[in-house]
Subunit: 262 residues, 3 copies
């Protein structure tokens, strides 16, 4: 993907694959179990439903194993940090490993809490198929500025795919490096937008074995839906509703016409 | 309700009663205490407020008894399952029994968790005035396919009213059987729509002693509001806002004109 | 502020200061840590983001100290009441005191629970810069009807600013007494609107040392946004989205043109 020509071709292929992945989510309605914080739960569930996936959200240690075992992918979002939640996460990861389920790590706000950062590093060892985070969280996780080279290095070290979201999104498996330029500034004015991006990565991993392709599909779908929503919105309140509408209606034509992928 | 003529008459009466019940909710603003999962809490509170009821939601075992004792109805939604929540539920049910309060059981996702299903069965023995569930949950609760005869049998056995929601809703007290055909497919794309239906049943039970009439009023009001909302919506995000608007504005004329009850 | 002329002048100055305070929030993006109930969390976070503040919401005792220490203001909302939450609140208040952070007390529904009321009284001793509550909550806190004189007396006794919201809002530091007449009846039909008002007070306290001016700015900004939103809304669902849009777009001209302050 270093050659201009090859890169352009790859970008087209990636977008076509992203469209395939999103269609597969709609067609198969994968079950995605979400360990996530209470602030983001409802919006996350609604985003998954809008794309055609089926969310579940219980955090109870007594039953989370059964829920995860019957799911197609798992999200581990660290937006809340306590002993009970960590125990439930252990149980959930054990179940995911037993079933060979893909899972996504979202190390929310680890830059604000050293204990949470340490926990995120411990979870990284358990080999998530993908990690989704922002620049500050990357810096806290990897101990390096969120530059393309450092992100590639961190992905290679952890044998995972990293999706770093911001004004421009970077997705890398340590070898391939994709940049996505879709999105809108209003996405930063709705709580849980990052959490939601990670949940969509999990939904895409449920139907796509290539974690880079799954991450690109999720972030591209969300970014383009954000652009469509911004054209209809008067501010962050109407935008939050409109991005759900846009995700629900997102089709291959819109995805291909709007994608800004390199 | 077997004779075509009698059935038609009954349907008209049921719709008129439903309109009365919904007007009574608006007029009396009953207090409804909701034990429900964190995913559905905000949407449930907003739906109750839109219809004119007053929600409260604390789950703290230390004070839930005082909240329930001062309420007019109680919702027990099993969307979260842990020891602390079960203890609070016990306290809440004791208070409801002491005060002679009606309550509704919503056995959310018991088809996904055997422990939760066992707990739902134990709660059924405590005689809820109404149960609201979907087909998969009914099968897990009753051990039978969600056919009209099996639902009637289960309601009779448990001496309760069952509201089984799906493409067509069934409401039965074991003797009478009502079918409701209102609603819209977008209702399945908004998280907590079933939880919200159960909360509305609780609000209607607060002002109507006939649990069948209360359940019909709640499910009919929600289904028709869903139809009205779908006509204004571009997808599930705008639909979730529009169904609150429609519930808030729902009047007797709209209810009677749109009801598809048998 | 008893003389008609002086009052009018003061009102103009208060509105100009309110506009300054809201601009400062947008310009500085203060971090506001919120201890609040799960029903109100997402809406509270979205309201803070709409105004330009940066919310955090963790309730974990293990890390709340670190979050508060790096924040610019703290909200303590009593919408949930349990031993774990109270322990986290202690830790958070210790951190706020260490850092000299302003904090707001919102004694949600203390009229419904004697234990919660007792806890609110104990917290009042820890000297919040501001308290935001409604009439019933004031009566439970102060043991007096929510009349202007009683509210002034209570503020003086507790050396705090009280913002009493209702059809008309009163804000007083015990000496000055301001009344705000902006707002819309739909604000009562959206869950968490009071909680959100308190969070906005915290955001304004982060950038304004005069707690009366900060409280007026927050309640005026919210009330006027409610009026703007009501003009676009069809009911409480579209209103909840529209008030976020209006807060996001609220400018000095609109604030000055619409303010009804005395």
């Amino acid at each position: 993907m270093r050659e201009p020509h090859g890169l352009q071709q790859s970008a087209q292929e990636l977008v076509a694959t992203a469209a395939d992945v999103l269609e597969r989510v709609r067609g198969r309605s994968p079950r995605v179990h979400c360990i996530t914080n209470s602030v983001a739960q409802a919006f996350t569930a609604n985003v998954l439903l809008a794309l055609g996936a089926r969310p579940s959200m219980t955090l109870s240690g007594e039953e989370i194993g059964a829920f995860v075992a019957a799911s197609d992918a798992l999200l581990v979002n660290l937006g809340t940090f306590d002993a009970e939640r960590r125990a439930a996460t252990e149980t959930a990861l054990d179940a995911a490993e037993d079933e060979g389920l893909p899972w996504v790590l979202d190390p929310v706000l680890i830059d604000r809490s050293p204990m949470r950062a340490a926990y995120a590093k411990a979870l990284l060892v358990r080999a998530p198929q993908a990690v989704r985070l922002n620049g500050s969280e990357f810096a806290a996780l990897a101990g390096a500025a969120p530059e393309p080279g450092a992100v590639q290095h961190a992905a290679r070290e952890a044998s995972t795919v990293i999706g770093l979201t911001g004004k421009v999104d970077l997705v890398t498996d340590g070898t391939r490096l994709v940049t996505l330029e879709n999105g809108d500034a209003l996405m930063d004015r709705v709580t849980g937008m990052g959490c939601v991006a990670s949940a969509l990565v999990a939904a895409c991993l449920a139907v796509e074995g290539d974690a880079l392709a799954a991450s690109v599909a999720a972030l591209l779908g969300l970014g383009i839906s954000g652009e469509v929503a911004a054209e209809r919105a008067n501010g962050p309140g109407s935008f939050a509703a409109a991005i759900l509408d846009a995700l629900h209606r997102l089709d291959r034509e819109t995805l291909i016409a709007r994608a800004r992928v390199q």
